[in-house]
Structure formats: C-alpha cells, structure tokens
C-alpha cells in the first residue's frame, strides 16, 4: 500500500496538513499565473463577446452549436469519475480509494463549475439565463419540462449539489484536524467548517451511515447526468446525433476521461505536494486496469455507432458519417481513435502501467482524444443535416479557442485554491488503512 514504508498517525497529519499550512512563493506564483491566464484567456474574451454578441465566436447558421458546447460536455465528462468512482469504490470497500478520492471529488466539483460557466458563455442572452430555472414568477411562466436542456439544468444542479455535500461530508473530520492544528482566524473558520466535530463514536457512526447513503445516492445520479447531457443531442433528429447508443456512449466516455483525469491529478499531487508516501503504484496499477477496461468499452461503442449508421443506410446518416471520416475534420477523428482506442492498449503491459511518466502521458492523450471526440460530435454533424443546400462549415474563432484554454486555467485555479482549504488527501481514511501500531505501554 505504501511505497516508502508506513507513516505514523502524526506523520500523516503533518504531511497532509503541511500542504495547507505552509505556503511557499512557488504556490503564489503558480496561482497568480493561472488566475491571470483565466482572466486574460477566459473572462476578457467573454466580456467582449457579451458586448458584441455570440457572433464573436465562429458559429454560424449551419452550425449554431460550437466549441462552447463541446467544451461543456468535456468538462461534464471530466467530472464523472471523481464522485462516481469514489462512491463506487466506497461501497465496494476498495482500500486504494482512500488516498485519492478527495482530489477526485474536488475534480468533479470544479469541472462541473467550469462546465456551468460554458453554458453561460454559450447562450445568447446570459442575463436571462435564470428563466431556465423553475422559479415561480409573477408572469406565470414556467420552463419547458419537455426540453432536454431543462433536464440538463435539473440534472447538473442536482449533481453539483449532491457532489458538494458528498465531498463536504467526507471532509468534516479533516476540517476538525485542521482546526486542531491551527490557531487564530483559521482556527475559528475551521471550527465553523467542522460543525464542532469532536470525534465521538456516535459522530463517526452517523458520518459513516450518511456517507454510505450518499455514495449510493450519487451513483445513479452521475450516470443520469451524462445520459441527460447526451440527450441534448440524441433527442434531435440530426444525423450523427440521433443514436440510441448516445447515453451509454457519453457515460462511458465521461468515466473514461474522468479516470484519465484522476491519473493526471494524482501525478501532480504526488509530484508537487510530495504525497509519494500516500499515492503509490497500487493506485496507478488499479487505475490503469480500469482505464483499459473503459477504453475497450468505449471502442466497442464507437464500432457500434459506425455499424448502426452503415446498417441504417439512410442518406442523411451516411453523408454525415462520410463527412466525419473523410471531411475537413477527419484528421481529428483519426487522432481521437488513436489516442482513445489504441494508445491505452499500451497499458496492458504492467511495466507501462507502473511508470508514472508514461501513465501521465497516456492519461493526457486520452483526455485530448476525448476533447476532440466532443468537438467532432458537435462540429461535423450540424453542418451536414438534411437539406444539402444548407450544408455549411464551422471553424472555431480565436475567441473560442482562447476561452477553451482559459477554462483549463479556471479549473487549475480552483484546484489550487482547494488544496489550501481542504486536505487534499483524506487524513482520517488514510489512517484507517494503516496497520495498527503497537501502543507504547
């Protein structure tokens, strides 16, 4: 379980809390950098777009959805493994979950927030976006509950709320640990955060019960969220969107990219926060196996999609497919296949699975592949719809590209802030995995 020998309880506390309590200049530099990238690349173009209109992006009449939506799906997808994986592994009692789940859940939260931002960027009149919430209003108008976008709003807000509670609940004992290890204002704050946690048996019991309940509750939720996101597409008749396989396809892709994301985040935690003792090869190995499985499922669904399109044989679907496979964006399609279907097969070799650097590379490639997958779905289907006379073309504008880049900065910024406020590894659960020490009598 531990690569460098088992730490003592005190060491665990010290190791993990030190990442919160001791802040070096490098951290501030990094935070400053990501914040300015987020400001310059994301918020400034967005403000510009708010003034001139969505026309600042590259979308047009033949492709009214563009990279904003594909980024939205990507971030929703990335959110998937965190909470889901954590919950699944919690119920199945996998011990290797314990040192990674906190960051994974944080990833869920922050990618959901980034995704929600993309909805704001996407819509034409963001200042009226609250109309899509079922808020009672004097006009007597309600949102349209038949709309898949409405399902989306419901699903995502529910998921966001549930994930937040889930991660918070799991952190309460750790907040108490922070409270006890600090003084002054921080102590006061964490007193509030920890809800006065004292560590009594009854408290532990209640936490355990509630946590398990939420774990069970979150799993179907996570599955439903991406199914519903996929229905945004699948419920339309657009060739390339209108597939019954879309819900499982999206869910599988989401978990896939999310798991790859966890590998990336783990690498960073290990590297930059010095968690070598807690995040070890056993995690890497397990995640690697999971990734291979997911990759195979993903490939299978892809083949299935191609097959049903070909077997259906309608001119609409075939035209959209041939545009996807051979048109302007074909290189992206093949790139996606290589990164998501073939490269992960390398993990069949244990040597590669256990190498941090190689796994980092593979995980990043998978996510690049998944980002392109989403882009391809959005960008190659719409311009090839039903009327050939309205066939068109879509290329993202620099504003869209900049906003996409900026969204990563937002995510990293949020994560950087997170590690200073919440222990990035669950202290008490890591302690649970330690072999009981002999008490000095």
């Amino acid at each position: 379980m531990f690569d460098h020998g088992q730490p003592s309880y005190a060491e665990v506390n010290k190791d993990i809390l030190s990442t919160m309590l001791e802040t070096g200049p490098k951290y501030w530099m990094l935070l400053g950098m990501t914040m300015s990238v987020a400001g310059i690349c994301f918020f400034m173009p967005w403000i510009y777009q708010l003034f001139v209109g969505v026309g600042a992006a590259g979308m047009n009449h033949n492709a009214v959805w563009g990279s904003y939506l594909s980024n939205f799906i990507f971030w929703i997808g990335l959110s998937h493994s965190g909470t889901l994986l954590s919950a699944v592994l919690h119920i199945t009692n996998s011990p290797w979950r314990k040192s990674i789940y906190r960051s994974a859940e944080a990833m869920t939260l922050f990618s959901l927030m980034t995704a929600a931002l993309f909805v704001m960027v996407h819509v034409g009149r963001v200042w009226f976006v609250h109309w899509s919430f079922p808020i009672p209003n004097e006009m007597g108008l309600w949102p349209n509950f038949r709309s898949p976008l409405m399902f989306d709003v419901m699903a995502i807000t529910t998921y966001l709320t549930a994930s937040s509670i889930f991660i918070y609940m799991g952190s309460v004992p750790d907040f108490a640990a922070v409270r006890d290890a600090s003084t002054g204002l921080r102590r006061r704050l964490y007193t509030i955060f920890s809800f006065g946690w004292r560590g009594t048996a009854r408290e532990w019991h209640t936490l355990g019960w509630a946590y398990t309940f939420f774990a069970v509750f979150v799993i179907p939720l996570a599955v439903s969220v991406h199914s519903i996101v996929s229905w945004d597409f699948a419920l339309s008749a657009v060739p390339g969107f209108h597939h019954t396989i879309f819900a499982p396809y999206f869910v599988c892709g989401a978990i896939y990219s999310g798991t790859a994301g966890i590998v990336t985040v783990m690498y960073c935690l290990r590297k930059f926060l010095g968690f070598e003792r807690y995040i070890g090869q056993v995690h890497l190995d397990s995640l690697g196996k999971l990734l291979i499985t997911l990759s195979l499922i993903w490939s299978y669904i892809n083949i299935l999609e191609l097959f049903t399109t070909w077997f259906g044989g309608t001119s609409y679907e075939l035209e959209a497919l041939s545009f996807r496979l051979t048109g302007f964006y074909a290189p992206l399609y093949w790139e996606m296949l290589i990164f998501c279907a073939f490269v992960p097969l390398l993990m069949l070799f244990k040597k590669i699975r256990l190498s941090w650097n190689k796994m980092l590379l593979i995980s990043v490639l998978i996510n690049i592949g998944m980002l392109t997958e989403r882009f391809i779905i959005v960008a190659t289907s719409q311009p090839r719809k039903f009327l050939p006379g309205a066939f068109g073309f879509y290329v993202p504008s620099w504003i869209e590209i900049s906003i996409s880049v900026g969204s990563f900065a937002i995510f990293v910024t949020l994560f950087l802030i997170f590690i200073k406020w919440v222990p990035a590894i669950s202290i008490y659960e890591v302690k649970e995995t330690l072999k009981p020490l002999r008490r000095n009598v």
Partner: protein, 249 residues
C-alpha cells in the same frame, strides 16, 4: 393533480389544436415557382430583416426568413434546375418546440410555430433540432444606416443580439385581419384576407395561404392536389407547408 393529468392528456394528443378555429397552411406550387426571389425581398421589407453585410454572408450568418434553395438534376446538356422556397414549415410535430427550455417557441392555437423574441435566451437548440434550417440567430445587434431605419415596420419588433428568429407566417398581418374580423363581428377571417408578404409578392402566384380548417378555403383544395407533398416527410414533422411537385414534361 387531476387538472394536471387532464392538461397532460389534452396536450399529448397529436393535433391538440383540432378544436381551434384556424390551422394556417401554405401551399407552394413548384411548377409555378421561377426562383425569382421576390418573396425574399418582400419578407425582408415586411419583417425588418437586417442588412448584414458581405462579411456576415461569408460567415454564413445572413438572416433570410425565406430563402430559395436550388438543386441541379442531371448534367450538361440535359440539366435541370429545381428551385424550392424554404421557410419555417410551422410543423405540427415540430422538433424545435420540444427543445426550447423557456417556451420561447411553442405551438399556438392557430397551428403556428411561434417565436417569442423577448423570451428567448439564445441556447440555439431549436436551430439545431430544425431539419429545415430555417431558424436564424442574431449573432450581433444589427443596425441600419441612417435613414434606412425609417423603413422599419412598426408592427414587427426589431430583434437584438442573442435571440433566435424565423418566419412567423406574418403574424402581424394575421393579427390585423383578425382585428378587422372582430370589428365586423365575424368569428373567423375570410379566406384570402390574410396574405403573408411572400405570398402577396409572388409574381407567378406560386404560393397560397389560408386556413386549412376551412374546407372551402382555396388552400384546402390546393392541398389535395395529387402533386402535393411535404419536404423530408420521412422525419414525421407534419409541416404546415405543402409543396406541389414540379411537372416534368
């Protein structure tokens, strides 16, 4: 709860507007249509469509509620051109209507597919879902070079950036006709009293507009023509526009 169930039944019945007075319908005879595009300009004048400029055209961001699509058949020298005016089909089973999260587009009691600009938040889902690609988005707030704005029709709202727009079957003309009918204490408008701008302008009289609920209306008779068909019928959108196939002599 019971009212809810009742409503649900009422609205899930296909063609729930059967009990209403009107079902506005258009027929377009492709054997008469010459592709002259008089309708396109008529629509632009009537409905305050913006002048977008060459750059926007190059970006495929023009706004034309009615457009002529052209399709070649055959090769030189035995080549034929087929024109087809494409405008909002006001489908009875419109894909766009289910898509809008805020009910900016819905089916109204006259069988019309509405678009309420001031309710639209601009998700553009309706445009993605529309198989006919007749929904146009305001990528920018368009302005008119002075004094072109003096031409703007005061009966039609000028749209701002971020909202979707499309053919309304000239709802302002329908409203005026209904208004006149009410003045005369008539329950329904007469056949031919409502003429959308495109239909009015058509030099070859290819287009016909009326209430297909009225079996005596010209349009009801024209719809029964053996040449009649609806575009992309296999999608089951049940459009309110019936095209009459061009005769190939």
């Amino acid at each position: 709860m019971s009212t809810f169930v009742e409503k649900l039944r009422q609205y899930s019945k296909p063609g729930y507007y059967d009990e209403f007075d009107y079902h506005w319908t258009m027929t377009i005879d492709l054997d008469r249509c010459t592709g002259c595009e008089a309708c396109v300009v008529a629509c632009q004048a009537e409905n305050n469509l913006p002048i977008v400029g060459e750059e926007r055209f190059a970006q495929s961001r023009e706004i034309k509620w009615i457009r002529i699509e052209r399709y070649w058949e055959g090769e030189y020298p035995n080549i034929k051109m087929g024109f087809i005016p494409m405008l909002c089909q006001h489908c009875d089973d419109a894909p766009c209507e289910t898509a809008c999260p805020v009910y900016a587009t819905y089916h109204n009691q006259d069988g019309l597919n509405t678009q309420i600009y001031n309710r639209c938040i601009g998700t553009r889902t309706c445009a993605v879902y529309c198989p006919y690609e007749v929904r146009y988005f305001n990528w920018f707030t368009y302005t008119w070079d002075e004094p072109l704005e003096q031409q703007l029709n005061p009966d039609v709202s000028v749209r701002e950036k971020g909202v979707m727009e499309k053919c309304t079957f000239c709802i302002q003309r329908i409203r005026i006709a209904k208004d006149n009918a009410k003045d005369d204490d008539r329950r329904r408008v007469r056949d031919g009293e409502v003429v959308p701008a495109c239909v009015q302008s058509c030099p070859t009289e290819a287009m016909l507009f009326g209430n297909s609920k009225d079996p005596e209306a010209k349009v009801s008779k024209m719809m029964k023509n053996t040449r009649g068909y609806t575009v992309l019928k296999d999608l089951n959108t049940t459009p309110s526009i019936v095209y009459l196939k061009k005769v190939h002599a």
